[in-house]
Symmetry: C2
Subunit: 277 residues, 2 copies
């Protein structure tokens, strides 16, 4: 199976319409129809059900859509990582606005190593670092457990800290010495922000949809929401936002993560610098 055929099939399976899929692929409809028919012949099974109502996926078609997407991602990651390996320097992905001091220290420590290469810092929206790593567009990322998933990645723990609630300065709870998680749940005047899922979509709910730290900070200052974040975010707080410790919130661990089996020399040096070894 060639990747071109897979791309064709995925396009048709997503559009469920040969004409639109062909348009998306920048080609005419007939060769697309033929390519899919050939693919079905070679696989020995129908992938799509064509009837007068339109196009639908068969069982094997659903399987190939899921597996084919994964395979295409693997091919794209292979290509991206090879391209990256051909260029000097490292790309480090980090959540914008999180662990800023730790990141600065890490970069300084690595920069002092002999033979350090330039590090490009890619600041990400929530949850995007893992995608950049998995897609091969970054060499290493700062992730925060338990929020980010490290499945399929190698990791090194850097730092563990408690969390604080960030509240609008004018809110009654902002005067408290401490808060419990339960007190912050279901506040009618401060609906919880909706963080993106790994696929980029947002869950439903009353709170604002959040993509990055700046949005969140500003919405808290405006009194529209509140959040529970690692203590280290205190360093970035502006006026209008008050931190209150939340002792029963889970501890947050900041980890360096990288794709397995990809310890290049610069990456190994970065890890050494990060762990102080």
């Amino acid at each position: 199976m060639e990747t071109r055929e897979l791309r064709y099939f995925v396009a048709v399976a997503e559009e469920l319409h040969f004409g639109r899929a062909a348009q998306r692929l920048g080609m005419a409809q007939p060769p697309l129809s033929r390519a899919i028919a050939r693919l079905e012949r070679r696989l020995g099974t129908a992938l799509l059900e064509r009837d007068s109502h339109g196009v639908a996926l068969t069982g094997p078609g659903r399987v190939l859509l899921r597996e084919g997407r994964a395979a295409l991602e693997a091919v794209a990651a292979a290509e991206a990582r090879t391209r990256r390996a051909g260029q000097p320097g490292l790309v480090l992905a980090a959540k914008a606005g999180a662990s800023a001091d730790l990141l600065a220290g890490l970069l300084a420590a690595y920069g002092a190593e002999p033979g350090a290469v330039p590090v490009e810092v890619q600041l990400c929206q929530y949850g995007e670092q893992g995608q950049l790593l998995r897609r091969g567009e970054a060499d290493v990322a700062l992730l925060h457990l338990p929020f980010d998933s490290t499945a399929g990645l190698d990791t090194e723990e850097l730092h563990t800290e408690g969390q604080v609630a960030l509240l609008p300065a004018a809110h009654p709870l902002a005067a408290r010495r401490e808060l419990r998680l339960a007190e912050l749940a279901d506040l009618p005047d401060l609906p919880a922000p909706r963080y993106p899922r790994p696929d980029g979509s947002h869950p439903d709910g009353p709170g604002p949809a959040i993509r990055d730290h700046t949005q969140l900070h500003q919405l808290i200052a405006l009194g529209r929401t509140c959040a529970v974040l690692p203590e280290s975010c205190r360093a970035q707080l502006g006026p209008g936002v008050t931190p209150v410790p939340v002792p029963d919130a889970p501890q947050v661990t900041t980890v360096l993560a990288w794709p397995p089996d990809s310890r290049s020399r610069p990456l190994a040096a970065l890890l050494r610098a990060a762990t102080g070894g």
Copy 2:
């Protein structure tokens, strides 16, 4: 990047010789040279170093070899799983000679379910079940923790048991009531069997290289080796092999494993039958 190009590159990278790689691919050498050159041009980086001493991989080349193999496996798995989805029935992979009673009970329980489909049982050599699953050639497998890796698979625990040492009946230790692991280590007359690694190769050592249960059983009966296996293997023992409990050996858990996100209806029914729910 097309899978054909990846296959070409992997062949050359493995052979480090254009002529042999072309032969392996069933084509002539010139088009292979051109294909690799085109790939390098498109990726914007050299993958192979050609000099008078021969061909060597560059850094990016090593990256593409590793990542490209993974991508090719993903494509092959997508194809195999799609083919499998087009055929009726389930394929269950199990280690030959292990958990036989549990497997029989599982098949009986599933067979009694309404709408059960035929189950083809693929009996494997040691460690092969995981490969069959990952390659898409089986739908579900019986694995044994901590021996088999379940990384990247969904699992359901079925059974946990202790282990027994299997010794030649004539061996002095066979008369013992119990044994400790330390007593079985480094016996000069019974060198430990060498089980295959996940890639199929065998570690070095004095003991016999083992591929399946029958080999192992027979070599024990011949007094050439000994082994520590889950208690349930007692049911398969023939003459010449004596089981002795080893209380300090790790517990073995038998699990059903399947590729994530692949719960087809028959697979779901099998899991239901397996867990007695």
